[in-house]
């Protein structure tokens, strides 16, 4: 779903809050899932989503005048997720980590294969560097075009492709490594898992 909030706001003279609310209606679900994928399983996706839109409300002029408000929101989500991950790491180090019940950002209608794949992706993404994880999540999982990723991460487009190239390689290698470990521990033949 593509929304042009600025054009809408100009046409109907919406207030900035209302224009941002329309962005919320249009993108909240995918942003919540994307933020959860970026930040990891231990962080509350609703908190992340709320923080992204709090920033959007405070900087409504920026988001409403951005070339792609969706890319702008993803840019904020990337920063929020990185910040939360660092904070969580510190909290874990000092033993303050609290395991909270978080609402699943994925649809409950997913298949078993999808659920297994999602868990595997989550485990492999946790092993990648932050930059590679960001570009892989935005491109492969969230389906953002390269131009929007470049805008969200504020890097040149070629950098996006370069990072994606290396991220894919690392992802594939790490996935293969995890497969071998799992095969050894479970005793199941690899062919069956590929099924």
């Amino acid at each position: 779903m593509t929304v042009q909030p600025l054009a809408m706001a100009a046409a109907s003279e919406l207030s900035p809050t209302e224009a941002v609310r329309r962005l919320y209606v249009a993108h909240a679900a995918e942003l919540r899932l994307g933020a959860a994928r970026l930040a990891g399983k231990d962080l509350d996706p609703d908190d992340l989503l709320q923080e992204v839109f709090m920033v959007a409300l405070r900087k409504s002029h920026d988001v409403l005048n951005a070339d792609s408000p969706r890319a702008w929101l993803y840019g904020v989500a990337v920063k929020v997720a990185a910040s939360r991950r660092r904070t969580a790491k510190v909290r874990r180090f000092f033993g303050f980590d609290e395991v909270a019940e978080v609402a699943a950002p994925e649809s409950p209608t997913r298949t078993l294969d999808q659920r297994d794949a999602s868990k595997q992706v989550e485990r492999v993404l946790a092993k990648l560097s932050e930059k590679k994880r960001e570009v892989l999540v935005l491109y492969e999982l969230q389906g953002l075009p390269g131009e929007e990723i470049a805008a969200a991460l504020q890097v040149p487009l070629k950098t996006v492709w370069t990072r994606l190239f290396h991220a894919r390689k690392d992802f594939a290698a790490e996935l293969a490594r995890l497969d071998v470990i799992e095969q050894r521990t479970s005793g199941l033949p690899q062919e069956r898992r590929h099924g």
Binding site: Y24, A28, Q50, S107, D113, Q114, A117, R168
Partner: protein, 303 residues
């Protein structure tokens, strides 16, 4: 690097497997969001003061103040003021210090005893003395300003000139005009009466000066010359002044006037010297030395 090929087209096994897993995960639709939570977002985005922090802030503030008071030294720090120069003026000195700090000396003697910091600017009717960390004496008379530097250096400035006076040097400003040679080389015949005097020649001359006629005139003139040679400028001037008063048209009055003029100039009594020069020009208009007298008078009047 241009846009990459879709991952699903990967030729190697690892890539194909990774692309398949990633595609499965990407196909999962996001869970719907409770749109009623938008109001929470709006509320949370409004800045709000958390008054629960007020006691903590007050406590930390009080602790900070207590710490500062505890660490504060007992006595307040003494402000170090720059050491001011000490000015000592003679009894007859006329001087003032302007609000700007400039010292104005009209007459008399002023001693700058110490100026370890800061700058001392002393203005006189003849020049401006500028010093920094110097000890010096300044004296102002009708004839000019005399500077004697004891320590450091003093810069003397006038409208068109600048002179530096270093420690141990003395400078008189304006400088004494040069006296034309024909005037300073004036001689007159000495009286022969005292050539055979038993006592001192000066006593003999003083005795003869009480007399009358040419002998008295010659004695007074020679008395002045001898006193001047001995550095008794006042006695010399007194002798010649007496001579002029008693014998204004005497035989030696041109020599007496010239001797007076030269001695007054050397004594830097320029105003009196000008008067004597004018008297010479009026009384001795045909004298061949009148041109030199006029030149000296003009240079005296120019000061």
């Amino acid at each position: 690097m241009d846009e990459l090929r879709p991952w699903a087209e990967a030729s190697d096994d690892e890539g194909a497997r990774a692309a398949k897993v990633m595609a499965l995960a990407a196909a999962i639709a996001p869970a719907p969001v409770d749109l009623s939570r938008w109001d929470e977002v709006v509320r949370a985005s409004r800045p709000a003061r958390d008054w629960r922090l007020a006691p903590a802030f007050a406590a930390s503030l009080a602790a900070g103040i207590a710490l500062v008071l505890w660490l504060a030294p007992g006595a307040p720090p003494v402000a170090v003021t720059p050491e001011a120069p000490v000015l000592v003026a003679s009894a007859n000195a006329t001087w003032t210090q302007l609000p700007s700090g400039v010292v104005r000396l009209e007459a008399g003697r002023l001693s700058v005893q110490r100026a370890t910091s800061g700058r001392v600017v002393l203005e006189t009717p003849h020049a401006t003395l500028d010093s920094s960390r110097a000890r010096f004496l300044a004296e102002v008379t009708a004839g000019g300003t005399t500077v004697t530097v004891l320590e450091g250096e003093v810069v003397l400035r006038t409208a068109g000139q600048t002179r530096a006076v270093k420690a141990g040097q003395t400078l008189v400003w304006p400088p004494t005009p040069s006296i034309p040679a024909p005037l300073s080389a004036v001689t007159a015949p000495s009286t022969s009466v005292c050539d055979d005097a038993a006592g001192s020649r000066l006593d003999c001359l003083r005795l003869e000066a009480r007399g009358d006629g040419l002998t008295a005139q010659a004695a007074l003139y020679e008395l002045g010359v001898l006193e001047a040679r001995q550095g008794n400028s006042g006695d010399a001037l007194a002798a010649w002044t007496t001579s002029l008063a008693r014998f204004p048209d005497g035989v030696l009055h041109p020599e007496v006037r010239l001797a007076l003029l030269v001695e007054l100039t050397r004594a830097r009594r320029f105003t009196e010297a000008v008067a004597v020069a004018q008297g010479f020009e009026a009384a001795c208009a045909t004298d061949p030395r009148v041109g030199d007298v006029q030149a000296l008078r003009r240079s005296l009047e120019a000061r």
